[in-house]
Amino acid sequence: MRVTLTVNGERRELEVEARRTLADALRENCRLTGTHLACEHGVCGACTVLVDGEAVRSCLMFAVQCDGREVRTVEGLAGADGTPHPLQEAFSAEHALQCGFCTPGFLMLAAGALQEDPSIADDPDRLRELLTSNLCRCTGYESIRRAVTRAAGELAGGAS
């Protein structure tokens, strides 16, 4: 089936089988391998991307469902000149990654949440609830929490 979607601001026309998940379409068809796949059943959150601004598990959506929609992946976080996104800066500064496998998912989870409501970083309960969405097996949750809080501060300060 022919699917037209916008990925990180770029219009893409893909020819995919209906059974192709969004995650596989991004990785295999678009060659955007920053989106990671681990459990493929919605538990780990490594494949989290934004669809029309909302964080979703790309392993639990089919690419055909995204026809006409806007997808943002970890490759679309940094500025056009390569300047890292405040979340990426904060993850680095707070040592919020070790092996890095879960990082793209956490970045997109946080990007979606902060874009929708930056005040989530001021509410420890809501932030914790958000971050339980994804798994980090290096157990870096506390540093991830600090990084998201730090990035929220930077974003509120007017950086982009």
Partner: protein, 292 residues
Amino acid sequence: MKPTAFEYFAPRTVEEVVAALAGGDTRVLAGGQSLVLEMNYRTVRPARLVDINRVAEFTGLDAGDGVLRVRPLVRHRAFERDISAGPLGRLLSSVVHNIAHPPIRARGTMLGSLAYAHPAAEWPAVATALDAQLDLTGPDGTRTVAAEAFFAGPFDTVRRPEELLSEARLPLLPDRAGVGFVEHRRTHASFAQLAAIAALTVRDGVIDWVRLGLVNAAERPVRAHAAERALLGQPADAGTLTGAARVAGEQDADPREQPHASAGYQRHAVGVLVRRALEAAVRDAGAVGDGR
């Protein structure tokens, strides 16, 4: 794993959805947060998928005429915000935080959860406890089934394969109702081992209206009728609540033995959770009902 191949339809009207469902071996794709998971596992291998996400009239959540109308594309997430439905809204938003995680709640739907009928799911027990009315639309039109008659067992409902669960109507609760929801799970990310839903009103210290539901306490969602009878007309005190909670565990629950939980343990745990849910509901009723 990857799903097996299927034919994909994305109709835009109810009529087209019903026509597509008539084809047989067809599944409805709403949020897909359980269906796609099972397709990835290949435990479900439908020949056809009907994606209802482009049917405009399936969106919308509105309260009026004494009911909250929930249409097929209302995501779990919608209930996290204040939906302005009084005590019912308070109950639904305290329940919804127990359902999966924010990204799953952004896609998954309440009606999908009802149709899927997972034994540990919260919405089926909420619908059963509150006597929700469910519309099933098929080739012969729409029929309405009470939630208590809708659930036939684990992952089993009276919905026919050619029917779509097209609307759920949850009765609004009395303005002065207090609500309580308590869930027990083995770890934060686990499914509910058991949960209790309570809604009640108290007048002059006496319980004069009550709805009580149990999650995962039997083969299907339970409305705890025996415990409700033990509460109605009784003083809203510790003795009544504890006694009724015990009745819920002993008479309304019908648990199966589980590797980590005997039936006896589950009956006991139902009693504890129901008591806590009732206490929360009485407190909530006091908070909203003072001076009325």
